[in-house]
């Protein structure tokens, strides 16, 4: 075994997986996990813990894997994370724990994400459930949204003994874990739902079909429904469009719509009733993780898929692993290309997209080189479906119905980073609702901070 290299993880063959929604990565076997765990240097001053937004004691759980004490490893992770099977799959480890791993200075870092996933999967398969030890406090907390921020906040508070109710606007809990990230990256029945069940086993109640800002307001939660504090983890669900001509043509979808139809409403399964349109040729506009998810979903629905992105490969905001998987599966990348207009036929259906070639100019305020149009380089891409994946912003429903709740000019709720405190006493917030669209793990970090803030607030106001 080469100590400088990660133990490889087996994956579904690209050609095969391009036609199904089964999980791409199979994860480590017990033997592989133990071998990989052996690569950890068990650093005294472990940088990986600092690199982890929720500060999991990484060397400690990896040592337990080495000695095949998987239950203990699961306990260590559970102290810091309520969703390890999710994080082991979707965290950008390369820029967090693995990015600072000492092993990585020479050769490849320890495969921390895959080890976390192994432990979480092992725990689930072996029926290990989180333990609740705290005494029940007679304090009630409402959590708005059941995505990663809300679930983490709720889990942490339940462990402290609070009576927690999560309110979810959709008909199933999970937020972006359910409607956004596809099955082939994050299996729902096998991974997401059991992790939500674990949060419920801590005593958390989840009420679906309640839209805070419409069905109930924050004031009603606090004044009429008896909640002592509220955490807002309502995410960033509003899709952006480009504002180019033809964008309302039939066959132009937001990535949110396309993914929600497929993931939450399970349109890819024939016995579910919600339809989805994925034409013969699909153009996905954008280069983030959501664009990769939409592209790979369309591919699995049988389409030829192009990713159209205005900068070059180096600037793609998606994780390298996602881009690599997408390419392996046969996604075509039209880089340095920007849409100008969507062309529709006489019935209003998309038949092509007029694009222009771009080149990179001087760096802009984001530090990335600004894409500039090359005059006269317009051409037409034949396609039947266009999926706009240009980012999302927070839903204004809560902001508009909560007096005194400050937001910034992008509509994000103003909240402190360490405790999630907002401008309203007793109201805390975190995740995409505060930062704008980011990652699952950052939302979880914010959920933990919010739980800390609420605990402090309710202890002081006792």
């Amino acid at each position: 075994m080469d100590m400088f290299k990660k133990i490889p993880v087996s994956e579904q063959e690209p050609k095969v997986r391009a036609t199904n929604f089964g999980e791409v990565c199979y994860g480590y076997t017990k033997e592989e996990a133990v071998l990989e765990a052996g690569r950890c240097l068990n650093c005294k001053n472990a940088k990986c813990i600092v690199g982890c937004p929720v500060s999991i004691d990484i060397p400690a759980f990896i040592q337990e894997i080495s000695s095949e004490n998987f239950e203990k490893a699961a306990e260590i992770i559970a102290e810091s994370s309520a969703l390890p099977a999710v994080c082991g799959r979707v965290c950008p480890q390369e820029t967090q724990c693995e990015g600072v791993c000492i092993r990585g200075y020479k050769g490849e870092p320890v495969s921390i994400g895959k080890l976390e996933r192994f432990v979480a999967d092992w725990a689930r398969e072996n029926g290990i459930v989180p333990k609740v030890t705290a005494e029940k406090l007679n304090k009630h907390v409402a959590v708005i949204g059941s995505g990663p921020a809300g679930l983490t906040c709720a889990g942490d508070l339940a462990k402290l003994g609070y009576d927690v109710t999560i309110f979810e606007a959709l008909h199933e809990p999970g937020g972006v874990l359910l409607y956004g990230i596809p099955e082939f990256r994050l299996p729902k029945d096998d991974v997401v739902i059991p992790e939500i069940e674990n949060v419920k086993k801590l005593g958390v109640k989840i009420e679906t079909n309640v839209i805070i800002g419409k069905t109930l307001t924050i004031d009603e939660l606090m004044n009429e429904e008896g909640f002592d504090a509220v955490f807002i983890g309502s995410g960033a669900g509003l899709p952006s469009f480009m504002g180019i001509p033809g964008e309302n043509s039939n066959g132009v979808f937001s990535a949110n719509e396309f993914l929600t139809r497929n993931n939450l409403m399970k349109a890819f399964k024939t016995d579910y009733h919600t339809p989805i349109e994925s034409g013969k040729i699909v153009c996905v506009v954008g280069g983030g993780n959501v664009a990769m998810d939409a592209a790979r979903t369309a591919l699995r629905l049988g389409s030829e898929v192009h990713v159209v992105y205005r900068r070059s490969e180096a600037e793609l905001p998606a994780r390298e692993e996602e881009v690599h998987h997408a390419k392996e599966e046969g996604i075509i990348f039209n880089l340095l290309t920007n849409p100008k207009e969507i062309i529709a036929d006489e019935n209003g259906w998309v038949k092509g997209m007029k694009v222009v070639k771009m080149e990179l100019g001087e760096p802009d305020e984001s530090g990335r080189r600004r894409p500039v149009e090359i005059p006269g380089s317009e051409y037409l891409i034949d396609c039947n479906t266009v999926i706009m994946s240009l980012g999302t912003s927070p839903n204004p429903l809560i902001k508009n119905t909560t007096d005194g709740l400050e937001t910034n000019k992008r509509g994000c709720i103003t909240a402190t980073e360490d405790t999630g405190k907002t401008s309203r006493p007793g109201v805390f917030a975190g995740g995409d609702a505060v930062t704008g669209a980011a990652t699952v793990i950052l939302a979880m970090e914010a959920g933990r901070a919010g739980a800390r803030g609420i605990h402090e607030y309710l202890t002081e106001n006792n």
Partner: protein
């Protein structure tokens, strides 16, 4: 789970139901909508609030069994439960937010067509209960398809009826009635509210524009979540792109691009048709849809 406490067949394909949904019933107002999903595998379907009873905790919905999901809704009976019922969504009608005193000086005309009479009803009823007089024009293809006539009669100052075949009321279209009221009878209206098939609303809006009557139309496009997440319901209003779910569902009828909205209604028609065949043919469905593979 949400209990169906009342089911009433209003016409051949139109069904009224009272659904027990305490939180929605406490909050909803005329003009808003709800999303209903029959069972675990069902589709989320937006339906405009047609009435509500805050004491009983029920919300009234009216739907036409025209597609797979509404056909499925119709197969549920009193005592059965729908899996999901969420709302209220969208914005209430401006009429129910405005000060009733200022509305008393206004002459308001309601125009409802087909299924659209159902969501017109709670608005007219609200105004009636607040002592504000208004005229209503309702239309349908024939007398059998005209719904809620008695209810509308009870709350409208003057009720005018138009049917395609003249089997009840005047023979012709709702626009013919509006024209007569304004140009022949010399009636003046300060506002028109129209709800019905997209094509009807388009022609009503064209006419009221000519007649100089500000008009509000209620849009019911394709949606998934109903909270602003999917953008499926986007439409062009003036120079702007609006989401019917969070910006509407009511808009200035003179600014809506109805032609675009009508095209967008067709997006899932083929898929819908295939699903419809499956449910109508039931056990005898052997792949006539040319899609599911049938017995294979």
């Amino acid at each position: 789970m949400f209990k169906i406490v009342k089911k009433r067949q209003l016409s051949d394909k139109v069904i009224l139901m009272d659904i027990e949904a305490k939180r929605v019933a406490k909050k909803c107002l005329p003009g808003e909508f709800v999303i209903v999903k029959a069972n675990e595998k069902g589709e989320r379907i937006p339906l405009t609030v047609c009435d509500y009873n805050r004491d009983a905790g029920t919300v009234t919905i009216v739907f036409q069994t025209v597609g797979f999901s509404t056909e499925l809704f119709g197969r549920y009976n009193e005592g059965d439960y729908y899996a999901d019922f969420v709302g209220p969504l969208g914005n209430p009608s401006e009429l129910v937010i405005e000060d009733p005193e200022t509305l008393k000086d206004k002459k308001i005309l309601f125009v409802g067509g087909g299924l659209g009479i159902a969501p017109v009803y709670p608005q007219v009823k609200w105004l009636h209960e607040h002592g504000i007089a208004c005229d209503s024009v309702i239309g349908a293809r024939n007398a059998d398809l005209l719904i809620l006539r008695e209810e509308m009669e009870a709350v409208s100052d003057n009720l005018y009826i138009a049917t395609d075949d003249g089997s009840i009321g005047q023979k012709g279209l709702v626009t013919d009635v509006i024209k007569q009221l304004v140009t022949e009878q010399g009636k003046k209206y300060d506002l028109c509210v129209t709800i019905g098939p997209m094509i009807m609303m388009k022609f009503v809006c064209n006419l009221t524009k000519e007649l100089g009557i500000p008009t509000v139309a209620s849009m019911n496009p394709i949606m998934v979540d109903g909270t602003g997440m999917c953008g499926a319901c986007r439409l062009t209003v003036g120079d702007e792109i609006k989401f019917a779910c969070v910006d509407g569902p009511e808009f200035d009828g003179h600014l809506i691009d109805f032609d675009e909205a009508m095209k967008r209604q067709q997006i899932y028609k083929t898929a819908e048709g295939r699903e419809m065949l499956k449910i109508l043919e039931g056990d005898t469905h052997h792949g006539g849809c040319g899609y599911c593979g049938g017995d294979k």
